[in-house]
Amino acid sequence: MNACRILNSARGMAALVLISTLAGCANVEPWVKPYERERLADPIMKTSGGALADKHREHVREVREASRGANGVQGGGCGCK
């Protein structure tokens, strides 16, 4: 019972800290402008070797290793609209 309450308040504390940080971020301006994103749009910043090659590499690893997942794409790129 005690342990539950502690965990609860720990989660509550963490949420409050997160909220205050994020509320503060409403005053922070994006510091990288769309016209400064040339380097980020370059293919050299991606670790991908092509959709099929990535799929194969992931498959090879998943078959031989017990761990899987969290391989989401690192987006970002050119930020063009």
Binding site: I44, T47, K55, H56, E65, A70, G72, G75, G76
Partner: protein
């Protein structure tokens, strides 16, 4: 059984959190500032892939085509073949070498609306004794002036498990929940964090694999549920002279008591106008599953001698080269790519019964492809 109940209790806040975030993203979608992501470029890829290691060879071709319609939707389709010829140590010592072919079809549809990208994907994989179908939905949302991208994803899979000579006798279901944040830190630096929870239920073992109890071979008994979590941190930094460095780390843990660490370092560099080269180094280590044993000295409800679940580590060193064969700026670009990786596996609690010592193997992974964007 008690362990899985405790696990569900612990997992409840995670599930609540995931639902909360899903709700938030819906709110963000509604409050979008009228800007948009871009559809993926039209492309076509052809790949020849090969894995050769420890007596097993798996190779085959693969093709992918992606085309956008009316600048609104991008459709993709893929065909992937895996021809496996296995004479690996567990196959040789417990069964006989075999040859098998697996065919996989995939499709995807990407839709971009203002700040968000919605991706629907599906795949169907068939081999003589195993079929797997899956459907997935991913949402990516740009926030904070386009500097932050939040991603949510869900995939549901259903498999039919069979055995040669018997046919399909059981099934397995999978659920994957993904959450990721990508953050631009500077004009040259990008970082991301990805979390994925995967749950499986059903027949999760192999009807061909045997475990060893008191030196005798018996069919393996694997739990019918598994829940895993993985957290990966990734970053890329442009170094300024047409080169970049990459680093990533992933921690994995699951209800089978497996804990794994993955760390990878990469370096990319342009050579002239037409060549791009990458090199990477990957470290992997994992601790064995609760019910894994090389040679069990006691009877237990679950027992397995699956190498994949043992304690082992691996080091991989690889390189990739890409040559821009034809480029018409603004129209199309064709690249020829080659990648090779050498991986050394060292098993700590799996013995090679042919030699008596712990098992280790070297594997070669080769990928040759042509990619075109237009």
């Amino acid at each position: 059984m008690a362990a899985s109940k405790l696990w569900l209790q612990w997992a409840r806040p995670w599930r609540r959190a995931l639902r909360a975030v899903a709700g938030l993203t819906g709110g963000l979608l509604a409050a979008s500032s009228g800007r948009a992501l871009t559809l993926p470029e039209d492309s076509a890829e052809a790949l020849f892939h090969m894995y050769k290691g420890g007596g097993l060879t798996a190779s085959g071709p693969a093709v992918l085509v992606r085309k956008s319609l009316a600048d609104k939707v991008s459709l993709s389709g893929s065909y992937y073949v895996d021809s496996v010829s296995s004479a690996s140590v567990d196959v040789i010592t417990t069964a006989s070498p075999y040859k098998e072919k697996r065919t996989e079809y995939g499709f995807g549809a990407d839709y971009v609306y203002r700040d968000s990208q919605i991706t629907l994907s599906g795949s169907n994989s068939k081999e003589p004794d195993y079929t797997a179908n899956s459907m997935g939905l991913d949402i990516a949302q740009e926030v904070f002036g386009g500097m932050t991208t939040i991603g949510l994803g869900y995939t549901r899979g259903a498999d039919k498990v069979g055995q040669k000579g018997i046919g399909f006798f059981d099934n397995a279901k999978h659920w994957q929940y993904r959450f990721g944040i990508t953050q631009i830190l500077s004009p040259r630096w990008i970082a991301s964090a990805n979390f994925e929870a995967i749950s499986d239920s059903g027949y999760l073992g192999s009807p061909y694999r045997v475990a060893r109890v008191f030196g005798a071979a018996i069919p393996e008994r694997v739990p019918r549920t598994r829940s895993s979590r993985a957290l990966k941190f990734r970053t890329s930094h442009d170094l300024g002279s047409r080169n970049a460095v990459h680093a990533e780390y992933r921690y994995f843990w699951d209800t089978w008591a497996i804990k794994a660490h993955t760390a990878e370092l990469g370096y990319s560099r342009y050579f002239g106008d037409l060549w791009l080269a990458d090199a990477f180094l990957r470290f992997y280590s994992q601790k064995h599953a609760l019910f894994y044993s090389d040679n069990a000295a006691a009877e237990s409800l679950y027992i397995s001698r699956n190498r994949q679940l043992s304690t082992f580590n691996s080091i991989g060193l690889g390189g990739k080269v890409s040559y821009t064969w034809k480029r018409v700026p603004g129209k199309y670009e064709i690249k020829a790519n080659g990648a090779y990786e050498l991986v050394q596996y060292k098993f700590k609690d799996y013995t090679d019964i042919r030699s008596g010592g712990t098992y280790s193997l070297n594997a070669n992974v080769l990928q040759l492809s042509i990619t075109a964007t237009f």
